[in-house]
Symmetry: C2
Subunit: 123 residues, 2 copies
């Protein structure tokens, strides 16, 4: 695991042209992007901005089925984006750290840039 950390040291600055990401690091990054590439998972993350919530609450807010929401929460937790805490019958999920929002904000900013260019292209 610490090997990963050190291998990601040079990954963080992708613009450093001298150092290319390894295949493993590349797949790790792709995997993280993939986790965030589902609208329902983004919706769940959004609901969790308020703080930790149990599955039922997230089912109600998201409008998804219990099974599907549970599976997406599993995925997010397994990939390290959510923390899981059991309390009696209920399981509470919460956003693991702030970097989740950084990723989302970066993408939203990227989309804004794309749209700026599009509107320029349209005149």
């Amino acid at each position: 695991m610490l090997d990963y950390m050190s291998s990601l040291g040079h990954v963080y600055s992708m613009k450093d042209a001298n150092e290319r990401m390894s295949d493993e690091a590349l797949e790790l990054v792709a995997r993280r992007f993939a986790v965030l590439s589902e609208p329902m998972r983004l919706r769940l993350l959004q609901s969790l901005i308020d703080g930790e919530k149990n599955v039922n609450a997230l089912v109600a807010e998201s409008g998804g089925t219990q099974a599907n929401v549970s599976r997406h929460l599993q995925t997010l937790a397994r990939e390290g984006l959510l923390s899981r805490r059991r309390e009696g019958l209920q399981v509470f999920y919460s956003v693991a750290d702030e970097s989740v929002f950084n990723m989302c904000c970066a993408v939203c900013g990227g989309i804004r840039e794309s749209l700026k260019k599009d509107s320029k292209a349209l005149g």
Copy 2:
């Protein structure tokens, strides 16, 4: 198109709990993440850090087949991450704007956070 821009105004600050992203915005963000969720596409972006390159050069650097590289470049261009410029027989691709790297850096940072937690959990 300008409608999208205004609808994304509140999207940018995902942490503003009072304003939830619309379904359309959510799908737009998910789509952007999906584009970046392929190792080969990340590799191509990485190659393009140096500046614009034609398809053949990218085929050589990436190690992929011509057909596959071409398709990935199409995807990246269609989604607004790359610019396309034709010059005689060759087609040159280049990174559309810096926000692409911001997205990648944000994700790399997120991974680093995850790994930090993992190493703590392991003792």
